[in-house]
Structure formats: structure tokens, C-alpha cells
Symmetry: C2
Subunit: 238 residues, 2 copies
């Protein structure tokens, strides 16, 4: 709760226009959406053409990192960085109302604005390559075969300070008009959630190799949301 | 399978670079990813700044439609349309390997390129406002209170012909190096999937109003993926 008082600056770029009552600009609200997911979408512009690339992200304070994507080739020529918008969204439900235009969805989304740069400082990059494992799988980077220098070089990590952001959340029942409430039409919510399945051990793992402790954070049937928020908490405390 | 022979044209804009062996350009592969989701991310440029907006999408042949988003205000001044990239992604699993840089994710993603325009032809718009309900909830638009002309006017639908697209899919086990296979390190996949929860009836629905037939497509515990592919099939056949 330490960040509740901190807010991102708001202007035309990040102000929530449609359903502005669903918008929030405090760090906690934005971080909660980011940390509950591992898949983000990065928007960038190349020769006037917008691209929307899905990739894996993680957060460290106000820094957002993601795994090299098609944006990498463009960034190589731009040491000063390029403007991007990184969005993380979760679909939580389908909302069925009495009239068509009151149909909606429950969701959580965070849009983050900043300048993306390739992480090329060797120390920062080594830390990022450990973080991309440990943030999701606590302690695992120390339990796997170390990366070679060549492997590290072949991997691209991109980083961005979150300059501005907004969160937008709908988590509610049906928003029917008062005059529609008595209509003999069914209304309600179909909830959806992303859950963890039964872990599949690789057939090549030698007999006798135990499941590592990091798997305990991903119990079958649990929501991915909860597992990711918990592993982020461990990562921040570590 | 009728579209297997049809492919989107490939050039620098949509060619899959990293892990090109995971890329596909045929209509069926792209449609399969689009139709298994209802949440897309739209990248567009406004005053040189990229934006990545999450919204609800649906497909009708080679036309992709989505619900009015923050891009709407920009599109109002651009009758010729603006270039966008619409991406739909699904996270299917977390892949734990023997060395850090072989860690991966299973996923399906489709990136679609085209020119977005506001749907303002009254007949096309009326059809789109019915489609956004019926594509997900077969037949429901005819069972709810009709939209007023004013409501329809206040809602924005955006449409785009898919000019180019690519699909990228990883659906595999651990990609360990041959020399790592005997290492005493655990490796495997944590599967994740998005599932449907128990439907919640609005407390305002009068007693005696039955659950409508469209809910049968969303049984508790089923994957959203399967429900959306099935409702798309019905929508196309209707």
C-alpha cells in the first residue's frame, strides 16, 4: 500500500475518456494489473506503420522490461530510444444486459507510456536475464545451467521507465437501465478466468529428479493471476 | 478447411522474423487465433505517439470489427481511415528448460494489418451492432430490447479489411539442447488456459425468467477458446 499516494501525471495521452469513472492513475492500481499478467502488447511505430507485438513482460519498480520482439531491429538503430505504449489486459467476464448496448465485459487493463531502450549495459542485462526467470519462478535462475556469454548476447531485453500510465477496470454486475429491470429478459455475467493446469514433466528429465520448489507457486486449478501476483511479491522482497 | 489454400501476402511488414518456423500466413491459421479470443489490442499512431488499446473484436470473413475505443476520436477526422495493427494473443503455457535462455512460453498470436475506418453506413452499422451480440451469444440480439436510434448513434464500431496478417504459434514441449538432456535439472511445462466460471444471474431478473439458450455455449469449466470457436462457427453458418 506504500504507493497509493503516488500517481502518474495525467494529460491527453493517458487520460481515460470512455467510461472515465473506470480509470485510475495511482501506481498501485497500474502495478496490480501489470503484475497479474505475463503477456503484454507493445505498440510502436516504424516508418509510419504501427505494430502491436505480444511478448513477455516483467516489472521492477517503475521499470518495465520485456523480451526482445520484432521491435528490437528498429531499436538497434535508436540509442535514444523510441516512444512506445505497453498494455496489459485481463478479460474477467462477459456481461449480458437487457438491451444490446448495455452488454459489456469485465476486464482490467493498464496502458503504460515511455521510451523503450535496448538494455545493453552488461550488468543490467545479466540482472534482467536472471529476473525474467526468477520473477516468475523464484530462485530458478540459480538452479539451471548458466547462460553463456554468447547466449546472453543473442538475447534482447528491452526496458522502459513508466512515464505515464492509466489503469481501467470494470468489475461489476449488469449495468441495466432502471426502466429495464422488470423486463422478462435474462441478464447476468459469464465469468472467465485464466487457470493453471497439471504440470507436464519433460520426458527427458532423468528419473529421480524432484520437482523444484518454484512449481509450488503454480498449483493446478489456481488462477494464473494469483500465482503471478504472489511471485511478484516474492521477487520484490528478495 | 476451405481457406487453407489462401494466404496473406508476405513482405517486411508481416514476415515473422524471430522463430520464423513458428509463423504462418494462411487465412485458416490467422482466423483460428482471432476466433478463439474476444479481446484484441489495437495499435495506432496519433501525433507520432503509438497507442495500444484493448477492446472487443469479432471477425466476418476478411473483415475485422471492434468496439469503439480511444482511437475513435482520431478516426472521426480521417474518413480515409488510418493504418492500424490489430493483435490477438493467447498464453497457453510456461516452458521451463534446463538453461535459462531455453525457457519459453506456449502461445498463439495473430497480427493483422489494415486500414481502420469508422462504420457509419446505417445498414452496416445496424448489422455490426447485432453481430457484436450474436457472434458471441447466438440469437441474443433478437431476444433483448432493441437499440434506439440514439443509442446506436452513441456507439462507435470500427472495421478493417485484413490486408496482411501473420500467425505465430508455439505449442510444444521443452526445447532443451541435446547436451542438456541428461542434466539433473527439472524441466517441463506449466499449462494455462482461460476457462468459463459459474454463470451469475443478475439479482434484478424477475423470478421465472429462464436462462436463455445462448448460455448453453458457455458451460462451467469449458475453455473460453472452445466456446468462442463454436459460437463463431454458428455465426458463420447463420
Amino acid at each position: 500500500m506504500s504507493d497509493t499516494a503516488l500517481s502518474y501525471p495525467v494529460d491527453a495521452r493517458n487520460r481515460v475518456r470512455r467510461h472515465h469513472e473506470r480509470g485510475a492513475y495511482d501506481h498501485d492500481a497500474v502495478h496490480a494489473v501489470l503484475d497479474a499478467g505475463m503477456l503484454c502488447h507493445v505498440a510502436y511505430v516504424f516508418d509510419g506503420q504501427p505494430y502491436c507485438t505480444p511478448t513477455l513482460h516483467w516489472r521492477e519498480g517503475e521499470m518495465l522490461y520485456w523480451h526482445g520482439s520484432s521491435a528490437s531491429r528498429m531499436l538497434r538503430g535508436q540509442r535514444a530510444g523510441v516512444p512506445v505504449c505497453v498494455t496489459v489486459s485481463h478479460l474477467d467476464g462477459i456481461v449480458l444486459a437487457r438491451r444490446g448496448l448495455n452488454h459489456s465485459a469485465n476486464y482490467r487493463a493498464a496502458m503504460c507510456f515511455g521510451t523503450a531502450r535496448i538494455v545493453d549495459d552488461p550488468a543490467e542485462k545479466a540482472q534482467a536475464l536472471a529476473a525474467v526467470i526468477d520473477r516468475f519462478l523464484p530462485g530458478r535462475s540459480g538452479r539451471v545451467k548458466p547462460n553463456t556469454a554468447q547466449e546472453a548476447k543473442a538475447t534482447t531485453v528491452i526496458g522502459m521507465r513508466i512515464d505515464q500510465a492509466s489503469a481501467k477496470v470494470r468489475a461489476a454486475g449488469v449495468g441495466d437501465e432502471p426502466e429495464d429491470l422488470a423486463l422478462p429478459i435474462w441478464a447476468g455475467v459469464i465469468p472467465v478466468r485464466t487457470v493453471i493446469g497439471a504440470v507436464e514433466t519433460s520426458p527427458h528429465v532423468p528419473a529421480g529428479v524432484a520437482r523444484p520448489p518454484e512449481l509450488a507457486h503454480y498449483p493446478e486449478g489456481e488462477t494464473l493471476d494469483k500465482a503471478l501476483r504472489e511471485t511478484q511479491r516474492i521477487y520484490e522482497g528478495g
